[in-house]
Every structure is written in structure tokens, then in C-alpha cells.
Symmetry: D2
Subunit: 341 residues, 4 copies
């Protein structure tokens, strides 16, 4: 059976495994204080056009979200996110566990819209009792969003301006960042992101690594003690070079974007061909996640042949279904999928 | 240069890398809900003689300690540990971050002694204002301890009895458990540990894995919602099968103990030969960690040739130095070390 | 100027002040371990028809909400509340600070509706990834609600049944409970509440005390260590008898309900007369809070004469305005208010 | 029976009760935003010689300690305290509940000694793995200490210098501050304290108020959002003027120090006369707490006549016993005590 449920179904890009094997008997200090991590960080700084950025490696996405937010929020601040934002829904309360409320605004295609966020903030500070409520200290966005949609450079700049106006920090969750960078649907480069956000992360887990997320602090006032904070949040990997190896490989010869590009191209083919067949999509995604509206019958008919991600009922007898491709998705898998639909 | 600083300097046992490579393109569901994890858990239950135990995989030690303690402690309880216990000293406050105080008793060779713990508890409940203080809800021990020492079956049984008497849970940190199981200095089997503790973990990171710790809940009242708690603590690995692969290999043909046995044998050789040469050891360790008392001059003379772990001054001109071996330590490294001392 | 902004504008009922003065030089142990607190607790148990209930006194409402919820929720659970619930909006993130997410359902007249809550729960557990999300462990309701509305016995019984079905606890915030008990609009007695909820509190601050809330645990499995938890949450009053004095007075000769009755009667007069004059109310409240829809001009015209609580714009040129009465509201104040409207 | 167990056995100074009664029917806004609180804050600023200080009122000591420390510590920092410090022992883990570790140094007469603290800090930063441990972000001291002892101006200045050197904040717990200010044993004025500490509090609960602690932030970089943080910690009093009334009275005509002076004078008489009778004291306290070493027999003989505070065994057959006086202690009580000893 071919699976299209998510982009973390397989292992890692072979370059990473090769490097793991090749370096296996090398002895290095732990906790990321090794030359391979140094090299990976340097490559990331270069790719971001941010020579002074502080780069840290963590293992997973929820972990990164809660450790970063807890680091950049003041004690009494919460984080503003789209109602559909990952931190608002799918993180088992990790943000609240760290003591911070997630404040939600209605999303727009899964994205935080600067105008809606501004309305929220104006309403918040117009309320005479705002000091009795949780103050928004940061904006959380994911790019691509949980719905595969993308921020334009203009949209991101608008959020930056809003954050400056209201004294908030801007944090971009790039769990799937590669797929955004590889997409024709976005005019945002890695350099843009580095210059517009205070902190963001480059996701490895969903873009070809075994695991790993690279956090990049470009705001020089943030992140100084993040090493200790990583440990405090139970997130410090003893054999830290495992993370260095993966990002060093991903940032060699642009591998990170190249493998994302493969996934996006395949997703575009699926979108194109299914559209041609008359299928309807939930939205117009240009990334590796495609949201199809499928009849329950059709979905059931696929059982045991291809696995898609069922997001629940969508009107009369229909289901919202996610199709996800990855760096590892083969042509044969796609052919099979398309032949069955 | 050969390094003896710790047991997490190298990658992983080759069987693990082979399996990673072999399974790389298989597609499995995430979060540990895959057949490889199932298989690994089954093997662990069998090795523990605990067919109903709940087994979960986490990534690292601090993470495991704080997630487990937070799960088994009630809101108002703290954990009792030796003053030298890892949770008391080296975890960047992760336990306190989860809201629990670490209550310390003077250690005995790095271990919690049942009699000293009992004295603490008697004093605690004799104090008229005990309800204004943090109630001890669990005992934390590490086996081997941070000083390489081992609990006897009798000592562990005494702690079990104490916990029963005072309504506490018993948690064993087995970050280096393999080295205890392989040691001639211990009469404690894995089955004993499973039957005497409420929950414990089998460390992978320091015993041949890239990373990973296997938590085993044998007390049926604990651990039911630990999956969600793992996520809440930012500790859920997306590609969970990475953990399954490692433990499945480590628990095939007793690999876990076999590779630990290699490390312990080498450590015993180092101990024997250095003792013969007149060196003094800090304590009588039968595991892969040996604590040598070395003159500062001697330690300095090793620089650039072999790396040991300097634990600080120990009386006049002397240093307390840790020598650690691992599954990967070669004979040549040991020969070099011994020739230099 | 007469103020109708809230029900905590004045000091305390004179009986309370008299008792404070009378007992001032008595020496009693601290922390509520005194005979006056014992007496007050006994009276509350009697009034609740719950001879085995555990009763504790705290100082304020937010404090009580977060200490109780933190006590009755498991580590990984959140609390279900109406979107307009006090814990969801106006507590500066105290609930999240204690590590728990507030899960919201659309309210119905400010109340949690059992059917909407059931829909939420069914949807929650139908989602394949519910273990990645915050599990609802309790339902939070306030009676009267933040909008002055009241639960019927049938509605509360429906929530009880829902909680039983889903393994949740039911917590009633009675910050203004007196006004509910005194209202003709409710068929719920204190005995009903004690038998249907797992835990609730009887508010003193807003019903005639200087401060103080009496928490009543009727579920025998809850609240055993709440004394320590109160201290842990910074909520233990050193001179605990201050709380005992107040509740002992309030539960002598039914004072608690009698003074609430005065406030409700006056509120009913305001409602009746303003309705007769053609004013429109936001909802049909039978308690001491009345929600008037007032033109901005009219509201402005009151400035410096009577103070109402402006809840913000309500359609074209109108404002939602809260009028609150208390045990201390005099006829002259009401006459003035009515003469100005 | 006369009680000498603590200084919070009685109600409040009559001036406070009078003012409560006199102002009872006044209507003021809640949460401390009223003219009485403004007046009290102004008087406190004047008394401290700190016209720009931010002053906030809280209800109790543990609450104040944990809210202030949580406000001034960064996420990854802990607080340095004497082993006998109140935050280290008797607060039910409230500090840890807020996520911060209490780091202890051996006390000197119950005080933090600058040299011992410096030794701790030097050792801490000399340890190669300090980034894996909890960083000391503040020093907590209580004045008088839990053992009735006092800091000299020189000692406090030494701690100030140490804090400056290590980038730490200095927080003084003044739960019993009045008794220090009134003592002949101290050369520290309120102005000195305000200029040497970053933040401190003036205790009301133990010095004549029903309850209440006045927090004074003199470091202009701290305390800006403390109003919201108070609420977040469940510590905001709805009828805030209760706190204003008490501190306004206490800071009128120097009442705060005058009533403390009474208590100290009486304690000095007890000390003098018991010393003359040959009794031995645990230390040389010049405040309202006297620590007597008493035979168990003697202590038992007092039962039912006078109540002292038994702090536990002190060598062979002896007990450490605390005698505490307060603003309300009468001559007759002291006469009785002295006649029995």
C-alpha cells in the first residue's frame, strides 16, 4: 500500500544515512558542541543571509514551538495564532503547559491575517480591563500553514509592521519550510524570512531528516540563554551531532530545497490531474499538501490500496482528505493514486 | 586523540545503522504507532518478565525524567533524590520547570539509602507544619548511580518497602542500565527491577543507540495517558519508528547487555591495571564509569592524547577524574590510555 | 455619585465588621485551623446538606478557580468552559499559568449547554488524533453566569450526566451564588448544587464579605490535599480566621441569601421600571446583574452622576451596559438612577 | 492561655479596624485603583525615599514571594537563598510551582552571607557544565531572617555588590520588616533598603494588619507589568482598598514602626530576664522572635498555660522553642510567661 497521509512516513534522505554511517565511529563532544554542528550552523547562517544569527537544533516540532515561545514570551504574555494554528490545536497543550495562553484569531486560509490581528489588538487594548487579560506578546505563524497555504512577502511584512507597532515578536514555524521555499506560489525567500521574523525554524523532520528542527534567532536580543532553556525543556540531545549531520547534509548543495521541490512538483501533478478529472479541492495549495473533497464512498474504496489522511466530514456525504507528498514519494505511488481516483 | 569523557561520544551500534538503512523507504504511521515499535515493546516486556507493562519510547534522559516524574507525582508532591542525583543537579531545572521540587537526602556512594530516606520521612511527618511543605511523592534513583555504583537487590527491596509504607512511587533512572545488568557487582536482574519499581527506564543513548530511552510502567495504575503527556512535554518523536528500530535491535539476541558487557570488561581492565600501578580510585565501581584520583600534573600531561572527564579539585593538587568506556571503546584506545598513565 | 459598576464596591455587611471588631484581640492559630473556621465550615456543610463535604476558604475568585481546577484536573487535562466564561477571558491566563488549557464551547446565554458540550466531546473523541490534543477533564460553569443567567435544575443535571458519561468533573463557580439562590428565576437549591457538582464555591467577595470564597468538595475522591495545594498556589491566608468570621456570619440566620435577596429585588425593580419606560435589555436576567442596551448619548449623559459598567459597542451607536446591585445598594441610589434614565 | 507562637495570632491594630468601619459604605473601584491605595502608595514611597518606586499590594507572604520571584527571574533562572530561607522550606513548593528552582547556600545565623554566596557562584561558573544547571538570577533574603537575625548595612551592601557583579537581582522579604526597623540591633533604614535592593516588601500580616504585603520595586526596569502578573498568580484582591486602608493607616504617624517597637521592647525584656535566670538562647536576636533552648520537661510544664512554638529537638532532652511577640502582646501575658519560666 502507498501512503500519502503525511510527509514523515519514511526514514531520511540517503545522504544523511550515508553520513551517519561514515561518521559513526568518530568521537565528538555531546550536546551539539561539535564541529559538525558548527559547520551546519554556519551553512544555515549563510543560506539565511544572517551572519550573526544564533542557530540551535532541536528534535521535533511541538518541542521547538513550546521551547521557543516560552523563551521569547514574558511571563504574562500569550501568543496570537490562527484558530487552526498547530499550537492552538494539536500540541496536547504544550504551550499552556509552559504557562502561556494561545490567543486565537479567525484564520484566513489557515493564515494569520494582519488586518484581523490588528482588529484583535485594537479591541484588546480598547477594553478597559485589558490588564486583567493575557497580553499578546508574539504572533505565531506557520509557513506553509497547516492548510498548505503560503504567506506572500507583503503579508509577512504586514505582520512584521504590526508586531513592531504592538511590541510583539514574530515567530515563524517552518516545520515544512522547504516546501514553501520550493513552491512557485511564494515570493518569500529564506533571506526575507530571516530579515522579517524575530525567530523561525527550518523543519527537518518533514523535509528529509530522521528528525530535527533548526531554530534561527535573528533578533539579537533573543536566544542568548537558549542552550540552557533547551535543556530545561527536556529537549537537549546528548549526541547532538546527529542533528548537525542532518542539517549539514540538507544545507549542502541546496539539498533541502531540491528534495522539497520534488515533493511539490509531484503534488502539483496530482492537483492538476485531479482537477482535470473534475475533483474539487478545499483550497488552492501550492505546496506538498493538497486538500481534496472526496465522497465517503470513494474514500472507502481506496482502503488497503492507498492511504490518505481523513480530516473529517465536509458537508453532505463528503470528506475533507489530505494528500501529502514527500522527498521520497515515487512516481509509481502517484500513478497508482491517480489511477484509483 | 582517544576520548573517555563519556559513553555517548560515538554513533550507534552497527546493527542499528543497518536496520535504519534497510527500513529507510518503508512507510509507517508516525508517533510510535508502527509494527517495529510494537515488536520492540514486546521484546522489552518479555525481557522484563512483565507481560502487562506499558512501554513508551522517549528521546533523551532529562526529558524522560521530567515527563515521568510529572506523570507520577501529584500536583503538590516532590521527588526524593540523592543530593548527587541527576535530577537534583544537572537538568537545568527541568523538574522544577514542571512544578515539582526535588527534595534531597545525603547520598551514600551516590545512592539513596533507605535508612537515610526513612529518617528524612520520619522527620518530615513529625514536623507539625508538614502540610506547609512539599510532600515526597516518589523516590528517584539511578542505577548505576552517577558515581557508577550499584544497588543490591536487598537495597532496592528496602526502598520498595519504604515507598509502600509512605505511599510513594519508586522510579529508577536506567540511563546506563545496561552497564549495571552486565556488571558482576550487581545481583539485580531486569526482572527484579521490573517487579520492585513502579516505573523505570532502559537507557539507549548511553548504551549503543543514537538516542532513545524506553520507559516501562509496571504499576498498572500509572502511565495510562502517558502518550498524551509525552506530547505535552514536547517529547513525542514524529518518526517514532526510529526509536522502535533501535530498541528492537538492542533487545534482539541480548545485544543490549552484550555491548554493555564489553564496556564493563574494559573498565575492569583499566581499574585492575591502574590499581596495580598504584593509582587510587574514588570509589569501588563495577561499571563502565571509573573515578580516578589523579594529580593535576598527570592530568595535564594527557592533554591532546587522551581526554578524560575532569570533575574538579579533590584535595591537595589532585583532581577527581572520570574514565568512561562504551560499547565502541577499542582495545587500542585502552592500551594508549594505560601506556600514558 | 452612585456606582452600579459591580457588586464589590463597598466594604462588608456590618455583622461581619462587628464580629471582626469583637474578636480582634482573641488569639487563634493561623491558616484556618481555628474554632471560628470550624464553625463556619460546619454551617456550610449543613446548608449544603453535605455532612461529609470538605470545605476550604480562599481569598478571591481567580485564585479559587485556578487552585481548584489545578487540583481536580490531571496533568494532561484541560477544562471545558463557555467562550464567555470567566476562566476563558478575564483571569490573566491564571489557568494556563497552572499548565491547563481552557477549551471553549459557544455559550448559550453565557451558559455551557449540555448538548453543545456533548457535540464538542463527540467531535473530540471522533478525531483520530485526539490523543495529540488536550483532553477535557472538567466542565467549568458559573452560576449565575457572567451574563446574569441561571442554570435550571434540569440543565445542571444534564451537565452532571454528561460529566459522568465522559469521566469529567463538574465545577461550579459561585462567585455570585447568593444572587442565584435568592432569585425567583432558579429552581436550584444549594443542596441540589452540592449533590450535582463535584466541587463548587460559595462566593463571599461579591455577596457581602470583605473577601473570601468557600470551596466545597462533595466528591469524596477530591480535595484531600487541598490545604497544601492552597499554600502551593500562594493562596493560604495566615490569619485564616478572617475567612471563618465572614462565612460564619454569612451562614448565620441565612444572612447570605437574605442580603442577596435585597440586591436581586432592587435589580428586579430596575428591570421592571426600565422595561416599562421602553428600554431594551440584552437578555432576561433574574439576578443582580442587568444588561441594558443604551445609546452612547444617554450613557454619556450619566457621567458624574451614576456610574454603570460599559461593556462596549452594541450595534449602531448603542452600548451594552451592565447595572449591578449589591447587598449595600440603597433605595436612594436606585431612585437617582431611575430618574436619570 | 496566652499564646506566643507567632505574630499573627490576633486581628489588626484598632486604627485599621476603625478605618474599615468608617469607610465601609464608600464606593470605590476595585483592584487597588482607588484613592486610598493611591494615598498609601504615596506614603510608602515617601517613607522609602523612593519617589519613583512602583508599589503594589498583595495579600500574603508566600504569594508575594512567588509572584515577585516569578516576575524578576528569567525563565531559566533560579533563586539563591539560605538553606533555612522561607522560600526554601515552608512554602509548599510555590516557587518550584512557578517553575524556578531554589538554590541554597548554608546560612549564617539564618542569613545569606556574601562570601558564602560568592563561593557558590564562583564554583558554579567554574563548573564546565554550568549551562546544564539552573542559573542563579536573584538572591532572596529575609530581614529579619527566619531566625530573628538582622542584616547590617555593610552586609546588605556586600550582597548588592555581589548581585551587580553576577547580574543578579536582590529581593528582600520583609514579612517582619517592622521589627527590624524598630530594633536597636540594625543600622539599616527603610531608605537604605530601598536603595540597596531591586525589590522588597513591607509586611503587614505580621506587623499589625489583618493581612497584606506592600511590594516596592525600586529598580526601574522591574515591575512594569506586575498588575497583570498579580492577577495571573491569583493574587489580585477585588476590594483592593482593604489593602490601601491598612497600609495607609500603618504609614500614618509612623504607626508601622511604633507598633513593632512595642513588640521588640517586650521581646528584649523577655530575653533580658530569661538570660538573668540562666536560660540559654539559640542565638542573639534583637527582634520580636526569641529562640530559647528549653528542656522538654519545662516545655511540657507550660502546656495549657502559655503556648510557645516548638521547633523540635535540640540535643539531649532539650527543645528549640520560639517565643514571638507582636503589636498586641500585653504586659500581663509577658508577666505570666516569665513567672512560669
Amino acid at each position: 500500500m502507498y501512503r500519502f497521509n503525511s510527509d514523515y512516513l519514511e526514514g531520511a534522505h540517503p545522504n544523511i544515512l550515508d553520513r551517519l554511517v561514515k561518521t559513526n565511529y568518530e568521537q565528538t563532544p555531546g550536546y551539539g558542541l561539535d564541529p559538525i554542528c558548527d559547520s551546519a550552523k554556519e551553512k544555515i547562517r549563510a543560506a539565511c543571509g544572517a551572519p550573526n544569527a544564533k542557530v540551535y537544533f532541536l528534535v521535533g516540532g511541538t518541542q521547538t514551538n513550546y521551547a521557543v515561545l516560552d523563551s521569547i514570551l514574558r511571563r504574562y504574555e500569550g501568543v496570537l495564532a490562527a484558530e487552526t494554528g498547530h499550537v492552538a490545536v494539536h500540541e496536547a497543550g504544550a504551550i499552556e503547559y509552559s504557562g502561556h495562553k494561545v490567543l486565537t484569531v479567525p484564520g484566513k486560509d489557515g493564515k494569520v491575517d494582519a488586518e484581523r490581528a490588528r482588529a484583535y489588538l485594537e479591541g484588546f487594548y480598547a477594553d478597559g480591563s485589558w490588564q486583567h487579560m493575557v497580553r499578546p506578546g508574539a504572533v505565531y505563524i506557520s509557513h506553509p500553514s497547516e492548510y498548505g497555504t503560503l504567506y506572500s512577502k507583503e503579508e509577512l511584512a504586514a505582520l512584521r509592521a504590526l508586531c513592531d507597532e504592538y511590541g510583539m515578536r514574530l515567530f515563524l514555524d517552518g516545520a515544512r519550510l522547504g516546501y514553501a521555499l520550493a513552491s512557485e506560489g511564494s515570493d518569500l525567500t529564506l533571506t526575507d524570512i530571516a530579515s522579517l521574523c524575530d525567530v523561525f525554524y527550518i523543519g527537518g523532520t518533514k523535509v528529509g531528516a530522521l528528525f530535527g528542527e533548526a531554530v534561527v534567532f535573528t533578533n539579537p536580543e533573543l536566544g542568548d540563554a537558549f542552550f540552557t532553556e533547551i535543556k530545561q525543556h527536556g529537549a537537549l540531545l546528548a549526541k547532538g551531532r546527529m542533528l548537525g549531520i542532518q542539517f549539514d547534509e540538507l544545507f549542502t548543495d541546496n539539498l533541502y530545497v531540491r528534495i522539497a521541490d520534488h515533493a511539490v512538483k509531484i503534488a502539483m501533478r496530482i492537483k492538476r490531474e485531479l482537477t482535470a478529472k473534475g475533483y474539487q479541492f478545499y483550497n488552492d495549495s501550492y505546496t506538498n499538501q493538497q486538500f481534496l473533497i472526496l465522497s465517503k464512498e470513494k474514500l472507502d474504496s481506496l482502503e488497503g490500496k492507498v492511504a490518505l489522511d481523513d480530516w473529517g466530514p465536509y458537508g453532505d456525504g463528503m470528506r475533507l482528505v489530505r494528500i501529502t507528498t514527500s522527498w521520497a514519494t515515487g512516481e509509481q505511488a502517484v500513478d497508482t493514486l491517480l489511477s484509483l481516483l
